[in-house]
Symmetry: D2
Subunit: 284 residues, 4 copies
């Protein structure tokens, strides 16, 4: 209960680390895990993630935040402090295929994600029973070309203020820029191709046609440009001439499951920092 994560970024200057760790020390904090990254040896950008334990976190929080504000202002840093007990709320959006949804539910039930699943939204009705049996609200919102805008209104109404991030677990509708802007770098999509190869529709078919020997999956943050947002995690599996498109899809589905679950788990633990169109991933 007394654990928190501190994420800091800014222009790299001497003494940043010693000042911040010194500040934490003054509150009696013990650093459990610390990772930092500088884009250059001198004067580049600086990124820091510290996970620490401190007694009576809630009580000292206002004072600690004041002290961090002081240091951050002195060095022009951005920062956020996240008590681990402030569990993130996620929404899952899903279309017909259930494998990614099921993986997330399975890991959530086993305690792998320290996060709440606030709701599942789908343009298909048939996952409702399984989702609701876990006590998670399921919202069936059909989407057609004509109703897409109205459907997004409904989705946003459900999401606004109720979730911290959104996971597209094989949600096959393209979100409008208006939707995406409401959750900057807080929508995680799983693409069933090894981006930047095979962006867009039918990546397995395209992979088969090109005759690749590895197929991949990519978890990334959604931006207004399709399949072009910052990549969080990728992985591949070996295929060969014997495997048709259906078999690529089957093999790929297991890859999609694990890559998406890993990306969600890193996001939940504040291990992913967006930098330009890339991510810094302080993995564990």
């Amino acid at each position: 209960a007394d654990t928190a994560r501190l994420i800091v970024s800014g222009i790299d200057r001497p003494r940043i680390v010693s000042n911040i760790t010194g500040c934490l020390s003054q509150f009696g904090a013990n650093i459990i895990e610390s990772q930092q990254f500088s884009t250059e040896a001198h004067g580049g950008l600086f990124f820091l993630r510290i996970e620490f334990h401190v007694s009576c976190l809630r009580m000292i929080l206002p004072e600690l935040e004041l002290a961090l504000t002081y240091h951050a202002n002195a060095y022009g840093l951005s920062w956020r402090l996240v008590p681990v007990a402030d569990v993130k709320r996620m929404a899952i959006m899903v279309s017909r295929e259930e494998h990614a949804l099921n993986e997330l539910l399975m890991r959530w039930r086993s305690g792998d994600f320290l996060a709440d699943i606030s709701m599942v939204i789908s343009n298909h009705p048939h996952h409702g029973k399984a989702v609701e049996s876990l006590g998670i609200p399921y919202h069936y919102i059909p989407v057609t070309p004509d109703t897409k805008s109205a459907a997004e209104d409904k989705q946003l109404e459900l999401l606004s203020g109720n979730v911290d991030f959104v996971v597209l677990a094989r949600y096959m509708q393209i979100l409008s820029p208006r939707f995406v802007e409401r959750f900057p770098y807080r929508i995680i999509n799983i693409h069933h191709g090894l981006l930047p190869a095979f962006a867009g529709a039918n990546p397995y078919r395209a992979a088969k046609e090109r005759g690749v020997k590895l197929i991949g999956a990519t978890a990334h943050y959604v931006t207004s440009e399709l399949d072009a947002g910052p990549i969080i995690e990728q992985d591949v599996t070996r295929v060969d001439h014997r495997h048709g498109v259906a078999e690529l899809r089957r093999r790929g589905s297991h890859l999609e499951r694990s890559v998406l679950a890993t990306a969600v788990s890193w996001h939940v633990q504040d291990r992913v920092i967006v930098h330009g169109n890339s991510t810094i991933t302080f993995t564990n």
Copy 2:
């Protein structure tokens, strides 16, 4: 000495396998390894690779070829019979970077490739000493935009009739269609990106800019379209935000070495069959 490989392809029909294996049996052949692939359950294309042992191979070869011709004609099949003792002759072409060349030389010395290295051709002089110390002829042929056509003339003169296939071990000059046509599906290139992503120049820089989490290497047959020929083998290695372009290049170089060596080894053993713009790889 009495081992051979039989590669067969054509339109799939019943009884092909039994006729061919029956034919081999009549000569007392023992099948060591056999792989086949059909593109469809019925009436697609059929590919077969059989490695067999037979006593007095050289003596019975003419008769065996006659018998195979008979069956092939009956079914409209293409085939080739390769005595394992007929060692393939390869040329290596290389530019400045030596890692891929060195890997091939190292594996060749350890007996991994059952092939001869007939020559090394380079547009740089500095690998000459190492290559010649192994008893392999080294031809330094400088290439400039003005001399490129004349250089290719020289290269082709050296290669013609003297080699069975060509390996581009990080040879950074684009070969003209005229050159490529002389060795159809017998030029193997190693591309330092996971095709179809990052085709063309500077793949590591492009990979860094896109923020990928895996970098790859691709061995493929060279066709007239740059980096678009049939893929033989690919592999990836994990990278992250800490790795700059130079570090990607360093890590990628080890990948290039192993992917190229694997592709060459399969080609040498007649394990790669081109089908459309893909390959069937009967791997071991």
Copy 3:
């Protein structure tokens, strides 16, 4: 519906393959997939798996079996013919941890396994609701040191004649030789260590103590000797000094899931042949 698998093994002699494929040809069969393996170039053991399509399989089956018997007798071969429509019936046995069970159920629902799950047997009651909601009978049979023998009686009564093979999906009770003998090479266990390392109890703890950099999981057939049966499939994942035993267990659980699912899928498709204490795996 008209597809079948033929598995053949015996002492290697010339003409076996041509005779068997010729026999299939006479029935108009078309070979979809064929794999063979000989332990020696001459006179070793011979293993063959052919998947073929033939019109009116059920009708010609008796005649085909007669013909195969004839050839098998002539060469002293063992063989079995498995119509793909003869779906195997599996039982799953599981203790407290649910991840392996859930993976099997998830893949079964998505049609990955062409098999029936006839029942789930557990020494814990708490998976019952989830299993029964899928229409699968769940048998809760508590096991204590005193009741173990009686519990096995009950288990065997349920299984006998009702299942073709048994999957131990993290079933933490050691089966008696009497039980094992009833299902020779038809009980698949997932061991949470990379055998032969870390056999027995607490493999993750032992792995941590030895300071390994990779942890693994092993699917194997159960024999009377603990964790010593023929290995079907193995895989590893990378760990480091930061990961405690609980984290190894968490990471390993995902490995166990995929390794077990792969092994079950190969077994269901008759791709695994036991040879001595090893397996020949004609993978796809």
Copy 4:
């Protein structure tokens, strides 16, 4: 030239990190890379590796060391400061097989290791020419059961004071405890098995007999107990029933090459810290 690494370990207490980074700051150091690890949330052991840049490193070194001594004494810490310009000197010991030696030489020539190769010692004469052509002294010291002790005397005489660490690149003689003690945690061996499985002689044969589906290689520090020292790095490659012992050896040799090279590279960069019989590997 002005870069150094600071390695610190001891009992974990609050303020260690802030004091040490504060101390570095006072000298105007800029932290390039920093990794830390604590075995427990409170009061366990603490390990820190910082790579930093500072102007005029050589000039300020005595003062910096004084300051670090002060802090280390206050907290009871062990530490060492390694200027990157102080290039480590390695000896390579090798027997008949050359693949691991060649890999190290190839990487050294390409600048992968920031280290000197002071000498190669072998109980076989035949690598001499290749090694000496690179300007590296080659010492052929035959070893027989009778001469082993005298041979070690010669080896130690050559090594003493002349090298910082020793790499056993498939050196097949077991070193005596007397030898090992002279280089505590400074002898790196490559074992051709995935320890703790297949320790001792003939690991590939043992792997074949057990029917494993993955073979591995392990780089570890040599201690007086055979193949039982702290593991630095491991990796695996997939094998199957078709691969005999010779093929396992061939495939394994490539694994040995890369695993050993990685371990040497981490050791050279002071990324490996021994803790009990495990290693903390602050990898890059």
